[in-house]
Symmetry: C2
Subunit: 112 residues, 2 copies
């Protein structure tokens, strides 16, 4: 069993919910304050905060409070553990392509 | 919300367990009969069968019975929905690399 098994359990469980995935999808674009993040969801704030709590406990997001405003961000590398596990479950040809993909991500300038 | 949201919920929930991930890791190599598959797990057979049931219901594995022997296989493309969602959560540079990776998977002969 891989060393990162507990982390993977928590990340997978956190993502196994459409609201929490939608939060991640929004935070991929940029960090957001809680009120702005909650706005598109037709949900009571306490329920929404509970979803944020699950994501934060799983290490998928981080949050920071400035005065009365809490800003939520995707934790850098939050989904790496999942990428890693999925990569290990691929066929030899898929693995070869993935390695090249990782190489290109590291060597390609962000703005081209 | 993507159309495949329910499928993704089920796959993520099914994989959020170390035993079920270990079953997937074993089946990536080849199909296996249930007794052989259960052997490395220190677990009562009914509990093990329950894990197989969760994976099968989520569409991650399939099984076929010949006489008294049930053979379990990874469903082809079982993890595609997860690859797809993860790919959508990547930065522009990562996406560029992924597209090349997919291209290479499709054009690289399996045995080289």
């Amino acid at each position: 069993m891989p060393r990162y098994s507990d982390e993977l359990d928590a990340v997978l469980r956190a993502l196994a919910d459409p609201t929490r995935r939608a939060i991640v999808e929004r935070l991929v674009i940029s960090p957001a304050v809680v009120s702005e993040l909650a706005e598109p969801f037709n949900m009571a704030l306490p329920s929404f905060l509970q979803h944020l709590g699950v994501l934060e406990k799983a290490g998928v997001i981080t949050s920071e409070k400035h005065g009365r405003v809490r800003t939520v961000s995707l934790r850098p590398g939050a989904l790496d553990v999942l990428h890693l596990w999925l990569g290990e479950q691929s066929t030899p040809a898929e693995r070869q392509a993935d390695r090249l993909g990782i190489h290109l991500t590291r060597t390609t300038p962000k703005e081209t």
